[in-house]
Symmetry: C3
């Protein structure tokens, strides 16, 4: 496995191999497996959990991590073609990435979209322009429309909780947030649940409906796995019989390039804060999922976060474990 | 040993075990002892020496360190309860610390007080609110009123120099500094010398007298160990027969919430700059201690810093060694 | 070998030993060689390639790196003597460097000159003031007038490409750049090619002629090795028969303290952008070298950078490999 870019690119046996490997590495530590091996992280948007979970994954296998967060260090990476670099960018990705590859055994790149163009982001144009330069193993740590490491961790968490695949009811819900977030998390989460063969409902205000290509891709995965994908804006109907409520917040695709209008729109949906009432028709032990960080009192109440439904720390720990499996699969088998 | 939060919480045999272990690890390196193990540092106030000495301690034992310095990365951690996070904090300690714990084998937290309330800081309210969320081994890397790693290092330095415990004369002195520093260092230093059974004098201008609870705690430790604690503002009397002068600077407890008045006050004590004359009645080989960094020409002269009395680099090296002992005790015995 | 400060301080057999060791470590990894050993980097000017290549070198040998970049963390290091530190510097190099040495097995210092005084920079006054405090092995990671790690990497790259020493024609050329860069790279590159016994031409506009002491030192090395050093401002003549064109940009020594005049001067030489035409009289397979980062479209065209002449990634990878050799020579033989 040279690339880990999209869960959709893996077969079910490949997914199962990674999940099994994560469990094995959890039970039987392998602190020498990647001795002397190097991961370089290029984080075009900084992230505590991405950085820490990857550094931890590599360290537990005996390897080392070099972290590059250009924004933190006050520099910007040029990615254009035929550009005259007479301004304030001194590093071009066409050298930076091969240089990182020259020092490393595997790269991890976090390159969210720029909100400049929804169609460009749906085509993953930023991530693609970076990844095509890379000739060593590469892990997608969040692109414009994908987040496969988080989704594999969530898959493992669902397995850990014995939430059924076919027949399991999965609700992906928009939730309130003062800030618009990328489409990467909802798109990846939706696809993961669909691949698992679950009955998936995307619950959101109508203005936050996910783009058609995202839904189409998920429906294709669902139909191959025996699941379904529907959309809904009615909370009670969506939550009926749910095994899992996965809350996220995302930008309105209608106002993708207009943060002011997006902000105004989301201000009208402050009541989309998950509390215990959301679960009244759900399975009794229905679980609450959320990628960290979480805005308490805005997207979810303290009651839910601190109660038994909340599985956010299990999700977090699984993030490290599945990344260990990916790194181990990429580097230790060779 | 799951927590290393306060020297006062250790028995004398526990202190002796750590000091002996530090010497053993110095003589017989153990570069495999913590192979594959992870320390995460949460530094709510950045610090070169804390970071470097902890990273070095972990690396010498074969482990790895993940360092989180939120201020450096431009984010702030929410710690309040029942808070509505609709402002500029996106991470709450109630998730951040369990997530760090999910990735790590041990945490180190540096969380100085906020100068908002002396009584809250004397109760360690900030550090306590963070530490109670942590369910893995935890090291206090400086709280509002404590700094046990530095104090254990200083204890080792006193032992290395064969400064007697009972009968040894220890002067903790305020010294000049343009900036007010926390009470953590003087409180921890005083307590350490008292626990060692020394005759301790706190030398300071009257307005910088340490708070009564700090003195009471130290006097209790002194009386258990056969030592004494007195206060004094007369330099010559304090230094009479001293084995050690430990200089620090700290904020005036009278103006704990008023940096302007504190600054005005300290401007009148610019003559509290340690020079060779301070030692005229001391033991001939009396040592000069100071936690790094040091303001040369302000709190101490170049003569003293560069002369044979200065033990600051020995203190620094011992910081790493005792932290190796603490980490080894917490993780390698299991 | 306790210091690696200047290629000029090494004998030819010492250079050969390091180059051979780099090749050996490339072919036969030694991930346990520096187990439990620590490198501390003090980067007074931040640099991605210096940091990453050193962290990678240390990690591949099983060691760990602590990186200190004071500017990034918002603090400044005092280096003066007899200074009264009542301003905004809290750390003096006279403690910081011994403290780093107390935690580490080897230091790497990047301390470019300050453009305050050409004569002070030619004497390496900043680097010398720091290095003389250090009593453990020390690596120069760029001083005012030197960059020996990069030069040793370039030597290896020339060897890898089988570019002849004696008889090989080496052109070091100034190239356009909106920003003035230090003299370290051209001075070090010139000296390396001279030591290799090559016929070296320094190609530059007259106002960018290198300082006389730099040329004199290189000419001494050239004459010992059977090579020559000439200066030239005529591109075609300089490139005649060249095996290598090494492009860099540097500040005008005439306006060393006057960035405004330097900037105005360099604006007139925008045509010094290396393109394929520069190579018309060169050897058919003549190579293009440049230290990263590179300003595409300004100092060199995309055609050259993306074409077969460009060896910049080989240079980059060799940077890591020769640094592994240096670290291994310093630490693993003992």
């Amino acid at each position: 496995m040279k690339w880990f870019l999209d869960l959709a690119g893996l077969t079910r046996p490949q997914v199962n191999d990674l999940l099994a490997r994560a469990n094995t590495l959890d039970r039987y530590p392998a602190p020498d497996a990647l001795r002397g091996r190097i991961l370089t992280l290029l984080l075009l948007r900084p992230s505590f959990h991405t950085r820490a979970s990857m550094e931890a994954a590599m360290a537990r296998l005996g390897g080392s991590t070099i972290t590059i967060a250009p924004a933190r260090d006050g520099w910007r990476i040029e990615t254009g073609t035929e550009v005259v670099m007479d301004g304030n960018t001194a590093h071009h990705a066409r050298e930076l990435i091969p240089a990182m590859a020259a020092y490393s055994d595997v790269l991890g790149i976090r390159a969210p979209g720029g909100y400049d163009s929804l169609s460009a982001d749906l085509k993953e144009s930023t991530f693609a322009s970076l990844s095509k330069i890379c000739d060593i193993p590469l892990i997608n740590l969040e692109s414009a429309i994908n987040h496969p490491c988080q989704s594999l961790a969530d898959w493992k968490t669902l397995d850990d909780l014995k939430v059924p695949g076919r027949g399991g009811r999965f609700v992906l819900s928009w939730s309130a947030n003062p800030v618009g977030h990328p489409l990467a998390m909802p798109a990846a989460t939706l696809h993961m649940a669909a691949m698992r063969g679950m009955r998936v409902t995307v619950l959101r205000p109508d203005e936050f409906a996910l783009p058609a290509p995202v839904l189409a891709k998920a429906r294709k995965a669902a139909s191959a796995a025996g699941g379904t994908v529907i959309e809904c804006s009615d909370r009670d109907r969506a939550m009926d019989g749910a095994h899992v409520l996965y809350a996220e917040s995302w930008i309105s695709p209608l106002y993708y390039q207009d943060p002011v209008k997006d902000q105004a729109l989301r201000a009208g949906y402050a009541d989309w804060c998950v509390d215990e009432l959301w679960f009244k028709r759900a399975q009794e032990t229905a679980a609450f999922f959320h990628t960290l960080p979480v805005r308490r009192g805005v997207g979810v109440t303290d009651d839910v976060m601190d109660g038994p439904r909340s599985k956010v720390i299990t999700q977090t720990r699984n993030r490290m474990l599945v990344q260990m499996a990916i790194l181990h699969r990429m580097l230790a088998d060779n």
